[in-house]
Symmetry: D2
Subunit: 154 residues, 4 copies
């Protein structure tokens, strides 16, 4: 629900993002999630991807899930809400909820993205650095730590 | 696996679909799935969306899940494979697997889309017509029928 | 130049809009222009497309020209500046200039879009209504009137 | 006109490329042009961008112009026709015409793209290599040579 999120950003639906049915094309919600994630890192104090690549790492999406409850329309003013709901060993679960502005009782879209912190040279999963964990924890007041989650997600 | 699919279509990765990392942007795989679904209906003998809308119905995506195993690159020749893996009462589960051409042992991407057959006027889920079921069954030699699946998926 | 524009809007370059060269893909600048035009109509006091379609009309692009002087990069904060530079009988010439924020001496991209005010039923060009002309004139302090322009552009 | 083109490629309009008006969004025609250019180089015997970048060069779009005569619709089978109409010193003028398949008397869209052959290190225009000119000439039976064109276009 809306109150769960500290990170929220406005987004106006563009003409080119709406299909013949007059609704946002289903794949574009993942694009909205991506924009939300970029802004999330900025809010946390990191710049994607420079601050990751500079360390020889990057984040790769391992799995994405979107549930479509209600459509967004052309010119809608949306709010894209994102948070890291779970920090594994090498993976993180990013949760997104999309609302129409000022209508926060009814979620339009929920999404979940599993990212894996990866070493670019070896293309292998690496432990998320403690400094990054700390930053996320400071930003998100409550992030459940579950080291076993890493096995499931990444 | 590749042999599971009767419906397969070639797709060449476009320059504009590849991001700064040189790989297909994660949301675009759902676009590829959508192209595959359109061609699937044509293969089955239906034209999307006309043959659905003419009956006052349409298919809406209720949930999409994508798992990313390996990246597709610019100019790759892919094969997008799609099938209806489950026919519920009002919903259908469409499964997609994406391969690099001639490398069918390693799947790059798997996806699952739950579609709900919906009456446009009332925006409510409707029973998938028998004629459509029959067409799909003829095309897919084995589609497990599971009426209870509708409750779970749609 | 930047000072020519009353209508300016910020736009942050998205990850998915940047290609393998690390720059915004050339076609996406027309998308940015489109977003700018939508916001232009709002600034002028009209809602696109409802206020046009309600009258049985719409605006169709007849010609677009983009000149690429310097590239925009991922995460750049751009300013998209748009104005109607010429009002013909049935056509209007919309000029766009794109700058990187706070670097207004060097334009990245210039574009020109010729729109034709069209009756939907007959698909024929129609005279732009006086009320719309008046609104645009009020917004743009100086719009050169050139009735002969309509022949050239639309 | 259709007969002017040796290079022609089929392209099926995707659902996501069509807007609320049911027609291909205006910016997407530049995407189609880009796909056509990629396939053009393949037809000529070059692989874009590898064969260019390997020499420390790349092609950058300097100007694009699109004229919209008639719309393409969802699921239309188009033919995208492209040719190099002019070879300057460092620039080339690429002309595209888009037809609906089997309706070659009425062009839907015409486009012109000016590319500049650029040295990546210095970001300066360079003379198009003779070997590339020869390849293009062999492919296009008649390409007017106009060295002065380079000044105008690039």
């Amino acid at each position: 629900m809306y109150a769960d999120f500290r990170h929220r950003m406005p987004l106006r639906v563009r003409w080119a993002e709406v299909d013949k049915q007059g609704v946002v094309f289903n794949a574009h919600y993942l694009l909205y999630c991506d924009v939300c994630v970029t802004e999330y890192w900025r809010a946390v104090g990191l710049h994607y991807p420079d601050d990751f690549v500079a360390q020889g790492h990057d984040l790769f999406v391992r799995k994405s899930t979107v549930e479509y409850f209600s459509a967004a329309y052309y010119d809608d003013e949306l709010e894209i809400c994102g948070r890291i709901a779970q920090l594994g060993n090498s993976s993180m679960r990013f949760v997104v909820e999309i609302y129409r502005r000022r209508q926060y009782e009814a979620v339009l879209i929920t999404a979940e993205l599993i990212y894996v912190y990866t070493e670019l040279a070896s293309r292998t999963a690496q432990q998320i650095p403690n400094e990054m964990r700390a930053r996320i924890r400071v930003f998100e007041t409550t992030v459940p730590e579950d080291e076993t989650d890493a096995n499931r997600a990444g």
